[in-house]
């Protein structure tokens, strides 16, 4: 009797679960489709106004701005995702007009309030919007988000800080590359680069940071911003930094900085006494530097026992230009032995088809 009862209860529960889940799917789908249709119906007639706002001349732009500012909240909520998506895609006057529209609609105040809300997603969206709007005074409100428990929120805050242009964010961005609550290095690098040349002194100070990832990020940012004044400091990092990865980044940075002073340190670094990754990076950097004086050394490296070094030397010679091409031609004909000839021919083949470095 007990067994039959248990079986019946099991059967009933299973049937009930199947029905509830089936119903749940139908309800979820129906609500979503309804919402999508309503939103689309509200937004469709207004998209033209958005296009007018970003594309037309002063008079029509002003008219569109007035009409969009006067929209009721429901219709604005339907249109806002499209407008927010456009913010990241347009530049110049069109972007300025969009930013003005968001400001008039009270989006900045709303986003600042959103940063203090409980939901992670809401806070992330608010931070993203503040970044897109480039509202610099909001930087202090974003800084605490770098300490959030949520990694996605920290990353969004990092990206937004880069867009706001407040150089005071540099130490915070570099500090958050270490510890448990980190931000992705790529986010920090992009943010520092977005801050622009005005942030160079603070980024340079980052080369002395205790954390190796922070030093590496600072090097990438300096290289990208073309901070030629930092060449000597970067050379010091290339020579003395305790982290092999940081030295690799320093080698690449030397190449991108492109000063004459970068040549000798890089030529020293391709020496077999150094770690393999560093030698490869130095060979690549010599190519990026494009110094003709590096040609003999790079040609010699085509014979290197390491595939990576020899291949990097071939690519670098390609980058150097006519002098490098000439050296590759000689080597390809066997002037430096069969190994160098093979790497030279492979480099020439890639270069001829534009698939080189």
């Amino acid at each position: 009797m007990t067994t039959v009862l248990t079986s019946s209860v099991f059967l009933l529960c299973t049937l009930l679960a199947v029905m509830v889940l089936g119903l749940l799917v139908v309800v979820i789908r129906s609500i979503r489709l309804l919402e999508e249709r309503l939103r689309a119906a509200r937004a469709a007639p207004l998209r033209g106004l958005l296009i007018e706002l970003v594309c037309e001349d002063d008079e029509e732009e002003s008219a569109a701005l007035r009409r969009l500012t006067g929209l009721d909240q429901r219709r604005w909520e339907a249109l806002e995702p499209t407008a927010a998506a456009m913010l990241g895609k347009v530049t110049g006057r069109g972007r300025d007009a969009l930013v003005e529209l968001f400001e008039r609609r009270g989006a900045v105040e709303g986003a600042l309030a959103g940063l203090r809300r409980r939901g992670t997603l809401r806070r992330a969206r608010s931070a993203e919007l503040i970044g897109e709007l480039g509202h610099e005074p909001a930087a202090p409100a974003l800084l605490p988000l770098l300490d959030s428990r949520d990694p996605d929120l920290r990353a969004v805050a990092g990206r937004a800080l880069g867009r706001l242009g407040d150089v005071n964010a540099v130490p915070a961005l570099l500090d958050r590359l270490d510890g448990h609550r980190r931000i992705p290095p790529a986010v920090a690098t992009s943010a520092l680069i977005r801050l622009g040349p005005v942030a160079l002194p603070a980024i340079r100070a980052g080369l002395g940071h205790r954390d190796a990832v922070a030093r590496a990020v600072a090097l990438d940012a300096l290289a990208s911003l073309g901070d030629r004044e930092a060449t000597d400091v970067v050379a010091g990092v290339l020579r003395d930094d305790p982290s092999p990865e940081v030295r690799v980044r320093a080698a690449h940075a030397m190449g991108f900085l492109g000063t004459r002073d970068a040549l000798e340190p890089l030529l020293d670094t391709v020496d077999p006494a150094h770690p393999l990754d560093l030698r490869v990076a130095a060979a690549e950097a010599l190519g990026i530097l494009g110094a003709v004086r590096a040609t003999p050394r790079l040609t010699a490296l085509l014979r290197d026992p390491s595939h990576r070094v020899a291949a990097a030397a071939g690519d670098a010679l390609l980058r150097i230009g006519p002098a490098g091409h000439l050296a590759l031609d000689f080597s390809a004909r066997g002037a430096d032995g069969p190994r160098a000839a093979a790497y030279a021919r492979a480099a020439i083949a890639a270069g001829d088809r534009g698939t080189g470095p």
Binding site: T3, V4, T6, S7, F10, L11, T14, A17, V18, L21, G22, L24, V25, I28, R29, R32, G88, L121, A124, R125, A127, E128, P151, D152, A155, V156, R159, P184, P185, A186, V187, T189, S190, V213, D220, S224, H307, R308, A310, A311, A342, Y343, R345, A346, I348, A349, A350, R353, G354, T355
Partner: protein
Amino acid sequence: MTETATGVLRDVVDGFFAVTDTAILWYFLVINSCNLLITLLGSRDVIRTLRRAPVAGHDDAAASRFTPPISVIVPAYNEEAVITEAMRAMLLLRYPRFEIVVVDDGSTDGTLERLREAFDLVEVEHVVPREIPSRGDVESVHLPRTSSLPLVVVRKQNGGRADALNVGIDLARYPLVCMVDADSLLGPEALLSAVKPLMDDPTRTVGCGGVVGIANGCVVRAGRVVEVRMPRESVVRIQTIEYLRAFLLGRTAWSRLGGLLIISGAFGVFRREAVVEVGGLDPDCMGEDAELVLKLHRSMRDRRRDYRIVFVSEPICWTEAPPTARILARQRRRWHRGLTELLLKHRRMIANPRYGRIGLLTLPYYVVFELLAPLIEVAGLVLVPLGVALGAVNVAFLWHFLLLAYGLAMVVSLVAVAAEEFAFHRFTRWRDTADLMVASLIENLGYRQFLAVAQLRGMWDALHGSQQDWGVMTRKGFAPAGSKQGGER
């Protein structure tokens, strides 16, 4: 005396059936409960990830010079029907810097010729680094004659899929490698999504798997899935729910638990350096993709490295599923053989605390609930009805068995359907959603049992070391919208 002996025999038989049937019953209760937990955990993670996709920062990554360049490795064997369209679609992927390395593994059809015609390829000098050992020698390397398309086509002697991948990884120029099947259709953001975890945590993350969906029935234009639809064939419809439950939500959950074991061969991104360190893929192992992941786990744990191997749940990759029961059975036989070989090869890791969650959680789970599942399933199908027929167990017990083995499994599948509708809602038509729900119910009525037999044969193949059969997947190819599907391959 005879009556006593019969009575004893009867008691033994009754006892045997009572014990084994009860054990089978408990097994199904535990396996389905575990699957339910995994599905719920995976659903939670998928919903969370997809809701956050708009703030994932893909636009920044797509424009950044610091997004690491990647080599997409495409092994190809007799893929002339799809290779050109697949490469055209891959060359349009949204990613700042990448190359595609197609490795023609000694195809006997016109794979190389099709590529040569389509991209005006010319043979060039090459150097093979030999950082990873390979069996089939590289015969030639080809590049586009004049254009700067980032396409490299390598022709090598036949050595199997794993060997082709090893050669591709060996020749890859970039620090990340993405292994993709030639018939995989990638979403435009596929590389950005899969590389994100490796960019976010560059010092620890060594590999990342991506969602593989079933492309049968979908509308495909220019090598891209533009509308997701349920396939027409029942056998593929059921695979759709299987992919959703086990391959998407299951792997998402294992990734969250830090115990991801399988990254599909159809799409996976790895750090080249890490793959080289473990010697590449094992050409002798049928499940070479999972074996690579396990080898990475083992290598990292042995060297006490802090590392992560993860799975991203954003829609990334679409592949053609076996369209007939015969081909499906062959595929699952191979997969289960691969799993058996994999677990035998790395048996030292199983329940070994040295290997952390992989050793103590994932591998024991795979042994008990994946490897042995078909064995227990078939045993249950034979022993429970037999026990009822012999009067050793009662009909109510049979009901319990059916409800726990199949009723609960249906509930798990429906949870997966609800998660798909809430998170992805990829199916635009009501009838597709209805088909998905029906498929989740009928999966347990014949399909599972059919697969269990095929899987048992795979296990038998592995244990007896019979000759490896890579199988021939008869594919229909992807046809553009509005036309009939392409010719068979």
